[in-house]
Amino acid sequence: MNAAMTLARRDLMAVVRSRSQLYSSMLTPLLFLVFLGNGVSHGLQPANLEAGNFTAYLVAGTVVMTSVFSSTFSSASYYRDRDSGLLRLLLSTPHAPRTLLLGKSLAALVIGIVQALVVLLAAAPFVDSEWQYGFAAGMGIALAAVVLVNLMLTGLAQALASRIQSMQGFHLLMNLALFPLLFFSGAFFPIDGLPTWLRVLAFINPLTYAVDALELAAYAAGDDGFIGLGIDFVVLGALAVAVYAAGLARMPKVTWSGE
């Protein structure tokens, strides 16, 4: 466990020292929230949303989107470590690859959770969130959803990073897989009014359950039209455990001269 913590500390330090990555990853979702939220609220005045306030609706989706980007960038650190030679050193230590993977994923998890919470907290004073269970309980629910969705996405990114040799290929595949999932999760528009085939896709999309839990925690005034926290956490919990375990199963490959 010491080795995992050592590695997690090092990965967190690397993110803190990459100032441009740190600032852009924090600012991008906030700018997205401000400009897209206000633009759509005032430009289109969406009739299906309460008081036409798209910014408040968008908070949950932006938190999930932040987790998606965060897990992608964090897992891309495998490629930096491989290219800098550090991965080779890690593999020559007495620790099992699973311990090393655990350390790296812990860092990715912390980064994802912190970024998601920054978005949630930064947006709270500026949007008319309901916090129907009270602010403290709502934040607790949101935190639980954020932890589970980050666990799942970190596991997914890790599993892909261990199988794809190039960082470009990894980013392409992550974008290809995760953008459609984001679109049909209720992150940017409610899934209620969608055609049946899209609603079916939305219900088999794990991100839908994260968005639903976050909407219920912060935005919604009641449970009507939502999946419900019970189902959300059962689905998210099961997937988080399964995908994270899959992510710990295989270490990215290091090639040898002559191979």
Binding site: R10, D81, G85, L86, R88, L89, S92, P94, E259
Partner: protein, 308 residues
Amino acid sequence: MTELAIRAVDVTRRYGERVALNGFSLEVPRGSVFGLLGPNGSGKSTFIAMLAAMQPADSGTIEVFGQAPARTLLRRIATVFQENTADPLMSVSEYLRFSGRLFGVPAADLRVRGFELLEKFGLGPRANDPVSGLSGGMRRRLEVVRALLHRPEMLLLDEPTTGIDAEERSILWRELLDGAGGTTVLLATNDLGEADAVCDNVAFIQNGRVVVSGTPAALKAGLRRESVRIGLTDNTAETVARIAAIPGTGELAQDDDTVIVTTDDASTFVPRLFEAAPGAIRSVTIATASLEDAYFQHVRRRGEGGAP
């Protein structure tokens, strides 16, 4: 009976169609500095990766300190790779702390030993500098410091001095051999001069197997006293055959337009050389027989094998 640090018997490793190790057998005595010499792609790095439990063998037996290579043994082993492994985002001392913790070095020991080693290898004043600010030679020295930090019983060095100048190389070896007393060192290199200077024993590898092994002195003992390196303007087979036919010619190896000949008396051989191949000689260099000559004799006999 000599205690062995490494014992490999008939080891084979394939990468797809390519055979990296092919019936590779080797014994490395404990506490010795042992050189693995061979051209690029001869299997040196693959064997080191196997000893460090980073690659499995397809067949054969490998023992490190009497056991099959395993992660649990890696606390007793340190590997210096051909490539630098230091994280460019860290400072020198942060990198050592990071690496030391991964090898279970206690925090207090880490500080003291890290400082001592940095001073010893001339990196003390750079302890707080970022790794990215170090020169190539300093980074190689830092790799060795990192490897010595947890007091390994065995050092696996995969071309540790690649890309550094002669002075840096000399500092690195002096401090390494001074600081690694009693440690078994396995050095994979294609620098024959370096191996001749530092190794107690060497093995020449070609096409994934050990061709010959022994002390540098024993390998050189069978050679004629002098080595004549001949630069040719005409490197045709006919010219080389005429050189080979000169009386007193020992072993002959050709690499493109260079021919190396061993002989007992260069002063009589060289005049005969100009008579045998008039107009075909560009340069002649005479030297005392070296490990390179032994390598040519065993591995690249008459033009066989790749560049060392």
